[in-house]
Structure formats: structure tokens, C-alpha cells
Symmetry: C3
Subunit: 496 residues, 3 copies
């Protein structure tokens, strides 16, 4: 599993400044003498190569609105970010371990930071067992054909120019049905594009940079794919751990200038972030410095919506509680503390990355877990002594002659059923995006892996069903063939 690296291109900022001047010249030229626009200079060529759409690029460079993010895939990057997509387990606090999809072995993935105008290359490796991919919201250009489908073992990359300042999401996106699924299963992170020339207002007001840059992701964790589709979250968290900043409050000093980069990943719930004792100085919609409002107590933030929030710690020591004011969510984990003391050692930044553990610590926490939370699998009973509701077996009486198991959100629901022998078991596919086959489709079947009898249903499109009747008592473990992480179990008992 590789870690993120940020490689500063050798030419660095001088390179960009030179390029910027070249653009400026080009733009001036373009406005002054339209005839000249068909002959871009050498820097232009380095950025845009032999694009078939050079006239569009030239048009866009000269606009009042900024250019798109398109550059040649050969353009020299200012930043290279390498991330790794995989499946696995991470501790999330309160004795719970999450078994889902990860970036760099973490949930959320690394916090990526660039400056407006930077050329960014993302190199994405799939170290997992299923196809992954990437969607990078800071990229105002085609990305899906470059990094939309990355097979296990493959590395792919995409290069773009970050032209819009703001707080953006990036996430796994292998296409189709798998886009929502892989987001629900945990593969996401934050990428921030800092404005280049104009900063945020409180920096001007105070005449200083922030004392603390606080990168904060709110996100949800689900015990089954069905609950994920329906927005029935087991937990919410800030930056990957339940009550992370209750257990380790963020130290600040009275008077500190805090700039918060807040994003709600969702993937379903609204967040209205609030801090007890703080009224915002300024908020910036999706982090754009020109989309500014003063005041306010909360920020209403849908999934993949974001804000930059600026405030000062008041001149009084004490604890300032951060929470989602949709308090059902708060009670499930999205709460933390800023602890203001005069002698505090305020960190210059707190990143949105999920916690990292060395291998020993990770193994120890997993070993001590009271609960494994898996949106699609059935955690082993010995490591999951107090299962989430979705993992508790559902027992049907002897007088039940048919049981329906829904396939929804790449999970079976109920995951585990106990039935009398001779009961008809019917699967209905309630996933809707069932074009094609394979992991990126929501088409499902049920295929036995172990048990007294063999069975396999047809491959089911949306609102299709198939049934089996099991007569041999025993335990049947089955999966969905194109989604082998989808686990179901049928316990057939002897007739009384």
C-alpha cells in the first residue's frame, strides 16, 4: 500500500509565473488583435499540446470567468499526488471497526492541497480486488476517460489545471452503479484549491494568516448497502473517527484566527455545522473567496457541498463544541471540541485524513473490536460479538412458506435468514442501475459458496426475481458472483 506523495515540479513557481505572463500576453494579444490568436506561443503549446480544440482553449483563456481545467496530459505538473485504492478494515473508534473501501489504507483519504493555477497530476493505483477509479471535483475537465476505470493492479493518471479556488471532494468512481456504491463504502477525501491572488477576507481584516487551518470532513458509515441507499446511517464522523476531537480536542488560544475547510461528504445526510460559542466572521460558499457572506451560526451543507468558514476564538478560555446541528447525526458521532487555553500550542493545521495506525496498533484494535461494521459482508461472529442490526439473523417461523431477500446497495437484506426446510427463498433485485454486468453494474445473482446443496439464481436486472427452495438442513453461504464481497447466509433448520 503506497502513501501519498507530493512532488514539487523542478521549475516550481517561477515556471508558473512565466507561464502566467505568457498567458497574459496572449490574452492581451487576443483582444487587441484577434488575427494573432491562431498562433499561440511555446508555453501555450506545452500546456495544450496538439489539442483538437485549440480555438476553444484560446476562447476560454481570455474570459472574465476562468479557463476550464483542461491541459495536455503531457503538461509538466506542479504537484503529483499518488493515491492507492484498496479494500480493507480500519478502526473508527468506540470499539468499532469498519470493513469497506479505503484510500491509502485510510478513511477518509489524504488531504490534497494546491494553489489556483497549479498543474496537478493524480496517479492512482488500484491495489484492490475490484475495479476502482476516480472523480476529482477540482478538475474542470474530462477525467473519467483517463481514470474512470482502473483494473486491479493498474495505475492510471490524469493531469489538469486547478482553475477554481475552493474546497472539493475526490472519490472513487469506476462508473455506473459503482459510483454511488464506492462512495458509500468509504473511498473519498478532500482536495483544496487555495486562491492565488486574492485571499479570504479575515486574512485582510486581521493582517495575518490563519493560526489554524482546520480541514474537516463529515461523513457517514453504514452497516448495509440497503441502509446506505436509504440514508439510514449507523454512524457519522469528523475525519474518520467517532468523537475523534472529543477524545483529542484541538488546542487553540483565545484570539486565534481559524480558517476551516468544511465539507460534508454525506453520502446521504444533510449537515448543518455549528460551533457552540462561535458566530462566523465570514463563510464562503464551496470555499470560493468571492462567494462570501458575513455572520451566521451554521452552514447548511448537502452531500459534496462545502464551505470555507472563518472565525476567531473569543477572548475567553474554555471548550468550544463543534457539531452537526442536525442532532440525530450529532448523536451518532459528528461532534468534537476546540479547547481554548492561553498556553495552548495551536497546530498550524489539522488535516482531514482518517487516522493512521502502525500495523501492530491496527491489528490490536481490530482484535479488540466489539463490532465490525460492513456494508456488504457478514462479519465473523467471533470478531463481532455485538453486531449491528443489519447483521443480526432474522428468523422466520415454520408457518412461513416464502421469504423475500432484497438485493440493494450491493448487499443482501436480510443478510442472514433462518428458515424451516422447504421454505421458498426469493431474491428480488432492488438495485436500479442494472445495465451491463460486472462489479460496476447493479445486476446481481446469488451463488452458493458452501452448504449442503448447490444453487445459483439467474442474473437479475432491476425488479427481477428468482427463487430456490432448500430442503437440506444446514448453513448456506452465498455471494453475488459479480460482487463477490456481497455475502448472504441461509440457515435451514429441520422441520419440527
Amino acid at each position: 500500500m503506497k502513501q501519498t506523495e507530493c512532488v514539487q515540479a523542478p521549475t516550481g513557481r517561477d515556471h508558473v509565473a512565466a507561464r502566467g505572463m505568457a498567458w497574459l500576453a496572449l490574452v492581451v494579444l487576443w483582444w487587441a488583435a484577434p488575427v494573432a490568436q491562431a498562433t499561440p506561443g511555446p508555453d501555450f503549446s506545452a500546456l495544450f499540446g496538439d489539442s483538437d480544440f485549440i480555438e476553444i482553449i484560446e476562447r476560454d483563456e481570455g474570459l472574465e470567468t476562468r479557463p476550464t481545467g483542461y491541459v495536455s496530459q503531457d503538461a509538466e505538473p506542479d504537484h503529483v499526488f499518488r493515491i492507492d485504492l484498496d479494500e480493507g478494515q480500519v478502526p473508527i473508534g468506540q470499539g468499532v471497526v469498519y470493513d469497506g473501501f479505503l484510500i491509502d489504507g485510510k478513511l477518509p483519504g489524504p488531504t490534497l492541497r494546491v494553489t489556483e493555477g497549479d498543474i496537478v497530476r493524480m496517479e492512482i493505483t488500484n491495489s484492490g480486488d475490484v475495479m476502482h477509479g476516480a472523480s476529482i471535483h477540482a478538475a474542470y475537465t474530462q477525467t473519467s476517460k483517463h481514470v474512470g476505470h482502473i483494473l486491479p493492479g493498474q495505475t492510471k493518471s490524469v493531469t489538469f489545471r486547478a482553475t477554481t479556488p475552493g474546497v472539493f471532494m475526490y472519490h472513487c468512481a469506476p462508473g455506473g452503479h459503482a459510483i454511488p456504491m464506492h462512495v458509500m463504502f468509504g473511498q473519498y477525501g478532500m482536495i483544496v484549491v487555495e486562491p492565488r491572488d486574492k485571499s479570504y477576507q479575515l486574512e485582510a481584516d486581521l493582517g495575518q494568516e490563519p493560526d489554524l487551518k482546520l480541514y474537516m470532513l463529515q461523513h457517514e458509515l453504514y452497516a448495509s448497502g440497503k441502509e446506505a441507499v436509504e440514508g439510514d446511517a449507523s454512524y457519522t464522523a469528523f475525519n474518520g473517527q467517532l468523537f475523534r476531537y472529543v477524545e483529542n480536542p484541538i488546542p487553540v488560544r483565545p484570539g486565534d484566527y481559524v480558517r476551516m475547510y468544511f465539507m460534508n461528504i454525506g453520502p446521504n445526510l444533510l449537515s448543518t455545522f455549528h460551533i457552540v460559542g462561535i458566530v462566523w466572521d465570514y463563510v464562503y460558499w464551496q470555499g470560493h473567496p468571492e462567494a462570501r457572506w458575513p455572520g451566521g451560526q451554521t452552514v447548511t451543507t448537502g452531500p459534496s457541498d462545502s464551505w470555507v468558514i472563518e472565525f476567531r476564538i473569543p477572548p475567553e478560555e474554555g471548550v468550544y463544541t463543534m457539531l452537526d446541528h442536525g442532532v440525530g447525526a450529532t448523536s451518532r458521532g459528528a461532534i468534537g471540541l476546540l479547547d481554548a487555553r492561553a498556553d495552548a500550542d495551536t497546530p498550524s493545521e489539522v488535516l482531514a485524513d482518517g487516522p493512521t495506525y502502525d500495523e501492530g496498533e491496527r491489528a490490536e484494535r481490530i482484535g479488540e473490536a466489539r463490532r465490525i461494521l460492513s456494508p456488504f459482508g457478514i462479519p465473523a461472529a467471533e470478531t463481532n460479538p455485538v453486531p449491528a442490526r443489519a447483521d443480526r439473523p432474522v428468523r422466520f417461523g415454520d408457518d412461513v412458506d416464502e421469504v423475500v431477500i432484497e438485493m440493494k446497495g450491493n448487499s443482501f437484506y436480510p443478510k442472514v435468514v433462518e428458515v424451516a426446510s422447504g421454505t421458498k427463498v426469493t431474491w428480488v433485485n432492488e438495485d436500479v442501475f442494472t445495465y451491463g454486468l460486472g462489479e460496476t453494474s447493479g445486476a446481481h445473482n446469488a451463488v452458493v459458496m458452501s452448504g449442503p446443496q448447490s444453487f445459483a439464481t439467474a442474473m437479475l436486472s432491476h425488479a427481477e426475481s428468482d427463487s430456490v427452495t432448500l430442503t437440506e438442513p444446514g448453513t448456506y453461504n452465498y455471494i453475488c458472483a459479480p460482487h463477490p464481497y456481497m455475502e448472504g447466509r441461509i440457515i435451514v433448520r429441520d422441520p419440527d
Copy 2:
């Protein structure tokens, strides 16, 4: 069933221009010599007739904020829109047919477009079996007394001036409890008021009109009224069909200027619309050109909230995926594609109307359906081989002595129960707006239509209940008398 017609009034724009100058003169006069304001000129009289509130109208015409939408019901319209309200079935894709309430036989209804300042007449016909009505969010004036209650067979109209630019919802609104019900059941559409004098910013930046005007409604579909009240959607869609623009991607060219008129109908879920590979150039809250923000990756949009979104297709071919980034919703249908190719034939507009079918095609699709989705009825088993969860019978064992059926969202829940003979069946009305009687109230009862025994409960207000005990085995079909589309079924089985 009639279709929408847009009738351009004969005097057209010259008429309006003349009237505009008359107003201007009036306003100038009003400010310059307040004494003169009590003697409005002839155009003023044509617009405002013999209003009892002429002083208010005069005050409002001269404000920095715009006038309200009030005009005399006799004012000559620039547009006449005729829509038809009915109940019926429409295919919604993926083998599913929706059985609900429709406008012009479609879901959503027709996309209506006018320009700021236009006089608009809506003529609304009720071709259905229950009372309907209309609420038109672009109308800043009394509408409910004109078109709030339209009986079956009636046509009513309302005339207003569209004074605020933006993207608005219109929908059925027969009053009281029926307002939320008829919205939940599918009667809605989009009405856009284009700004007259100032356009949207990207038009100025690019010096051209949009290549594509894309009108997009997101909406939810429910399998039962109870699930509709609780926000437990079976499906979400863009413009009336699951994956409509996955099956038929919208063709665009790199460089195209797209203006999107986006509205989330809801009726319950939040939408955060996003396009993979696009960062917005500008967004305009509820489509008002002066409520503008630059940048951003999503728009957080509650039910009946809207945005104009402007962006360019980047200079690279490929697919740009449109989705609600609340990905539980995405997985249920709210996803589509913009397919960028250099040789594409970009349509000048894509309307938000639901698909239309000729009668043969409609009948064929309904005949081939795998599922009928009905928020209040019980689809016949032969046309509904794989029912939604809400339509699956719920079987109670012999040791159950009482079963509770909730009335909620103008539906019975469970819709179908199987009980042993002698079981007490109790209905509880969980609808809350139960003032009055009739279809526009949430007062309910249960009256047998067929079965071995007759029964009828009392008419129930909120949190009232009534019971029957059925001893004769057989199948009982019953309805709610004031909501005859509300269907319930009790299967009484012989005691063992």
C-alpha cells in the same frame, strides 16, 4: 387529454413595450408629482381594472423591488398555457410503470417558459375523477381562489404577470391535505421566467447565447403514501424516467456553453446536483440573475428549490456524468450523461417534460411491465409480477389476535394483510391534516367493496381508530370512501 398550447397574444411585444413606457411615465410622474398618482393612464387600467387596491398597485409599481404579479383577470395575456390534470399510468423505465396523478398525461408536466414582465394565463382542466387545482410559484399574487379547487370536468384559469426571473415549480394544489398528496403523487412541472433586460453572466462573458438550454427536474417516486410521507423513495429520476439520459445521452460539443435550469421537486429528499468533470462557471440561486455565485461543484437544493447553472463543456471529448451527489438517490435513478463529441449535433434545448408515448407504445410498455408502482392502489398481480415491498402481502400468524393497519399518505399500510379468521383488524389514522371531509382532507375510513362480509369503519380524524373482526374466510377488498383510489386488502384464512 389535451396538450399544452402557447398562444402568443396578437399585440405581442409591442403591446408590452408600449405598456412599459406608460409605466415608466407613470413612475416618473409618481416620483415627480405624487399628487398625480391617483389618475392612472389607460394601460394601467387595462392591467389593473377596477381593483379595490389601486393605491397599493401604484405604490408597488414604483419600487426598487419589482411589482407583485397581480393583474386584472381580464388583462390581455402574452401567453396562454392550457394544461390538463388527470390520473393514470406512465412508463418510467427499467420495466416499471407508475400509477399516479399526471399533467397532460405526463410526469413531469410540460415545461412552461415566459419572459419577465409577460402576462400569463393558465387555463387548467380537470379531466380526472377527483378534485384538482394549481399552485404556480412564478405567480406573486393570489392564485388559490382562482384555481385552488377545480372539480372533475371543470376548467378554471388565472392570469398573472411574471415579475420575477427564475426557475419555478408549478403543481397540483387542491387545498389542505391534498396539496402534499397530489405533489407526492406526481402532478408537477417547471415554469421558467427568463430575465428581460439583463441576462445571465456567462452570456456576457462569451458574447453568445447558450448552445444548450437544459431544463432538468429531479423528483422522487413512491410505492406507498406512507413511504411518501416518510421520504422513503423507491426511485428518483431526472425528467420522468429512470436513467433517461443514460439510455439517451445528451449530445454536446467540446466548448459548448450550457445553461441548466435545475429544480429539485423532491418532494422530500435533498439533491446536491453535480457533473463529473465540470466546475460551475456561475450559479444563480433560484435562477435570479442577480443572485450569483462563481465556482462550486454542487448545488444544495431542497424540495422546490432551484438554480440556474452555467458552464462550458471542456475542450476534450468524453462523457460527463450528471448525478445527485447524495448518492443514495443517485443509485435509485438520478443519473444521466452529457456525451461530448466534436461532431455532435447539440440540441438547442432539452425540456423537463416527462417522456410522451403514442397510445400503442404506452400500452405495450405497460403490458410488458415487471412492476407497477402505485402510491395508493394495489396493482393487479398479473401486471405486477415483482411487486415493490409496500405491495407484498404481510402474513400474520395464528397466534396474532390484533393487527394494526395505518392510514398514512392516503394509503393503507400494510396494503395487503393475511390473518387468521377471528383476528381483530384495527385501523389507525396517522394522517394529520384531517379537517373536513372529502378528497382534500386526510380523514379516512375503510369500506368493503367485495368480500364474504360487509364492513365499514367510522370516519376517522387524526389519531382515531376503529376495528372490525372478520370471521368469514376469503378475500376482502376495501377502500377509503372519500379517497376511492386508496385500496386495501385483507385475506382471512381458515383457522388451522
Copy 3:
């Protein structure tokens, strides 16, 4: 139970004006001659006393953004608000009584109004049986250490300067897990900070003050703590009563200027407020006069988000319906009417306080209730003839050998179970914030209060469980010891 009082400090506005001039002088001095800033004048000292952070205060007084709300706890207040926190029952309309947590015996609590720059003292008394506290969103300063923990019988206070205009929430906040719980259970209200120097735009446009100031809170009511955590609301309301303004429409005249102070308390659902027949003149995000947008049909408002909304009643009589356009919520209670008539007697203001009753009226309404709604208790059957779903007993058959009861949202779920003797009953704590013990923690146990056998589980942290097996038939009533209002019941029946 005490009522709110507003005490005007003797020095009143002259005092503030003088202080204002002193600040101005200070600020001028500070900019002109930084050396002087270390010697604040006497007013400065009265406000900020012997703060350890005087340099921060001086910095903040001179900023382009406003100061924080910090003042010395000894500063002389312009307003003293006294509120009382308690537990109890209130009628909420439609035959339903709510049994939860209250402020001044009401739900919502009193509407508090101050002007930007005012010094505010909140004196908060706990007349209840459990710890309470307060969070006041208008206070941009430390409050939790002053009023975060108020024991039964105690009165505590906090003094702050209201420096940001807007519409804010205040609510009970005893810390930790109890913050979301006490909000869910009903302890909240509105505090408005009117701008001092600049008013809202429509006041300038019209050259008059509003005819009607309409303070409106939308909020949800829950039948169990579990449903409260999961956002499954039984009811929604405006200002504390289902259909309050349907039963008593608010009278207005055509042409009236209405300023609405709208806040969505939540605590979970989004609101998109709309009025049929009205397009807004202006909306102000969270009520800040500088965060203004024109037009629009709705305001998307998450929990603890707010808007000032300005509009005029159109020049036509009739009813204008106010509703949350998330219509599932509407159907559960969030609907009301503005009734426009030429001869109406428009009230100058409508407050957001919940209804008040004299003791006789209150007792009568409670006595006549069809339903008691209690998020954590089990209402007595005689006063609760038609219980909410969460209060209906859940009966398990003789072949069930284990029943799981979740502890969630300070409630047991199911609240009432019936099992055969010998059935194993297992409690799982699904509350997540389970640090510490006591009412402010989500750690729970189950301790019998009455029944044939005694039992007590271990105190359970998150995702911990404990079991008992009851063999003696009969009815067992039990509670959670640190949350004695949490009631559960097990009915053990004889084996057949």
C-alpha cells in the same frame, strides 16, 4: 415555573450611545496612534473588566468584521432574560399531548429580541429533575462554562454582547450526549438580533417599517428517541402546534409589508419554506442584512439554519398558504395560513413562542387527549388510547428464544415487548456518545422497578450488550438508572 422577563437597564440607549462613541474614539485612536491602545478608557474597562486577553479585545474592536460577543460577566446588561428549564406535558393540537422537555412550560420557549450591540444577560433556572444547560447561538463567546451545566434547583447566568444581526437558535445544552437529546426532546427557542444602523432592504424600498413581524419556528416531534435519532418524525409544527395557523389564520391586509424571521429547528429534517402566491422580495441568509438575495420561491433551511424573508401581501384578498415544500413534512403539520382581507386587523407581530394555557385549560386538553407522544416514556394506556407506533407493544411468538431491545436516543426500542417465559432478553446500547456516566452520557442500563423478578443489567457503553432471562410470568417495568425517564416494559406470558 417562572416567566421570561425583559428588564431594561436603567442607563438604556444613552448608555450604549455613549459607549459607542467611546469605542469609536478608541478605534480612531488605535488606528491613528497604536501606542495608545494599551490604555483603554473607563467604558472599555466596564465592558471588559480585567480580562486576561485585553490585547485580543483591542484588536477585535478595530476590525472590519465585528467584535466577538465577549464582555465581562459583570458588564451592565441592556436586557435580562430569565428562562426556566423543566420537563412536562403540553398540548400540541389534533388531540395530541407532548411529554418532553420544556422552556417556561412551553414548546418552543419564548422569543427573545435584542438589537445589535446590546449587552444581554441570560439567567437560566433549572426547575426540572435532571441537569439542563444552555447554548445561545447569538453569543459569539464562551457560554458553555457559564451555563453548560445547571443542576436541578440551580440558576446560572451568562452575559454577552450581541454583535451579529440575525435570527438565532437557543436551546438546552447540558453537554455531551445530552446536547442532541435535550434538543430532540423540545428545549429550544428563537433569539433575534436586529441590526442597529442598517435595516433590511424592503424597509428602505417602502419607506416604512413592516406591518407584520412574523417569527416562525419549524420543528419536529418524535414518539421515541430512536426515531428522533433516525429522523423519523411523528409530527412537524410551526410555533408549537399542529396547524396552529390553519385553525387561527394570521390576519393581514392586501399590500401589507411582512418581515418573516424564519428558523428551522429541525432537529433532523430539512425545510424548504414557501408561501403559495408569494415570491420573496428579498431573503437574508441567517437574517444578516448584508447577506441578501432577491426573488425566489423557497428557502432551503437545514436544522438551526435561518432566514429573514421580506415580501408584500399582493393586492388581492384571499388565503396565502404557508408550508414546508418538503411535503412529507407538510402533511405532518407544518402548514398555516395568512388570511388577507381589506378590513383585517394585522397584528404588529406574531411571536414564535409555543401556545400558553392556563392551568385549567391545560389539564382539560391533556385529559381529552387521544394520544400522548413521549420520546422516552411509556404513556399510560388510559390517557393514550391510540398510541403512536413506537408505543404499541411488540409481541413475540413462543418459538422466539431471544429478543433484542435497542437503547437509542435515550429510549428503549421496542418500548414494550411481550415474550414467552424463558425468552432471553438482550439489550444492546446503540447510543454512541457513551463517555462517562449520568444523564449527560449515552451509557445505559436496564433496572427493574416493578415485576415478579428483580434484574439489573451492567452499565453499557456503545455496542455493548447484556441479557436476562425471565421465567416468572407478569409485567416488568424497568428504567435506565442514569436516565430515569427512559421507560421499558416486558410482559412475560405463561408458556402455552
